[in-house]
Symmetry: C2
Subunit: 252 residues, 2 copies
């Protein structure tokens, strides 16, 4: 079976700006017969795959979307017919991208799979505001989590409050008030700088900069929604003055 | 003063493989008069800056290296003479890259600075072994830390043991035994899968895959050294079978 198989590239497109694609991703796209692209990925990346058939596989937190099972069956079917397939995801395929599941499914089917990393939103989006997520003296490091895991439970926020890393929460917009309240209850200071950034690195980027205790209200007043990232920690205090001013105007 | 100033790009070159450079980084390099490049960055990236003067600013954990102060003074001097400067760092400039310090120094000097994110080693290097750092059901997320912070103290490993994220430790090769012992003492199971990966994503990549209790010995027997990454968590168990076999041969 292996002889007739194609190949799958699991490609990270980065946080939004199409220029954050890597050279390796561009080279892979140029070789592909089929591109399977997520909703949140900028369509300009398709310019690098001019000969490819494009399949839209809408996946969007909370909304109606193509099921993961269906996507995986489709990738296997295409690759086992000899196609070179690029599966493009926002951010990095192995950071909250379900790329691990897809890689395992392909391995079980005996199909070659190459993972091409992308800039994850948790690093690239704060950087767009001037926020260095691991700044020495302000953070020991950085933690990326989602608000809820597969079993529906939330993280042990008390443990996160103790860890002294910048906390970056993906897909958390439904839970800003709950998360910030839990961290405050766990002993994180109410004045800890915190931000919500929607559509980071894209033209339509919008954000608020507040504190742990005021973040939920600020995000609500600015009418921010998904896709967005929550960033909590002293490093948020290093955001560019211009970005702080823009955030102020937004919630005034 | 502002009128005569040049501009500085703080560019992340990614974990090693020069193809992991972004399109934005390539565009910036093409505009630069001067490139300041770290020791650990592959020299092939200089092909994208054919007209630039190249300044080597050796920075390497533990060894004799150009001081951070000197580097910052040099960047400011060049940019304030109107030069377009690209400061290239391994990985991402804002993840343990001292990019935050450089950005603040430039802001104080009134010099324009643009940060161009790169693939951080903590994501790209495990991916090269097939390890998805946030795989659902195996990890709630991922934490990046260094073994020691500016004040010389180590992290609160007991808190990290409770957090249930994949733990990725940068610049920790001097402390593998100490870190793994502390995590085990804090209640992390001795059988937790763990890896050390040296020169990840480069031709000379070498690694071991072991458990929390056997990692330090395995890394020593395989004679692994810096630059390397330590990855601890159930997700390490998803490394490609071929990578597992290579690791076995290395410590046999």
């Amino acid at each position: 079976m292996k002889g007739n198989n194609g190949k799958v590239f699991l490609v990270g497109a980065g946080p939004g700006d199409p220029e954050l694609l890597t050279l390796k991703a561009v080279r892979a796209l140029g070789q592909t017969d089929v591109v399977m692209i997520d909703d949140l990925v900028d369509r300009r990346v398709l310019e690098f795959a001019p000969a490819a058939r494009v399949i839209e596989v809408g996946k969007r937190g909370g909304c109606k979307s193509t099921s993961q099972d269906f996507i995986e069956r489709l990738i296997v079917r295409l690759a086992s017919r000899g196609k070179i397939v690029a599966r493009i995801k926002g951010g990095d395929p192995f950071v909250f991208g379900r790329g691990g599941e897809e890689a395992l499914t392909l391995a079980r089917a005996g199909i070659e799979c190459e993972v091409i990393p992308g800039i994850t939103a948790g690093i690239g989006v704060p950087a767009a505001l001037g926020i260095p997520v691991t700044h020495r003296g302000l953070a020991r490091g950085v933690t990326f989590v989602t608000a809820h895991s597969r079993d529906g439970t939330g993280p042990d926020w008390a443990a996160f409050a103790r860890v002294d890393t910048t906390l970056v929460i993906y897909m958390g917009m439904q839970h800003v008030a709950e998360i910030t309240a839990a961290l405050e209850a766990a002993g994180m200071p109410a004045a800890t700088p915190a931000a919500v950034i929607q559509n980071g690195t894209m033209e339509q980027q919008r954000h608020v900069i507040a504190t742990l205790s005021t973040l939920a209200d600020a995000a609500r007043r600015a009418a921010l929604g998904s896709p967005a990232l929550i960033v909590i920690g002293k490093v948020v205090g290093l955001a560019h003055p211009a970005q702080r001013a823009a955030a102020q105007r937004r919630i005034a």
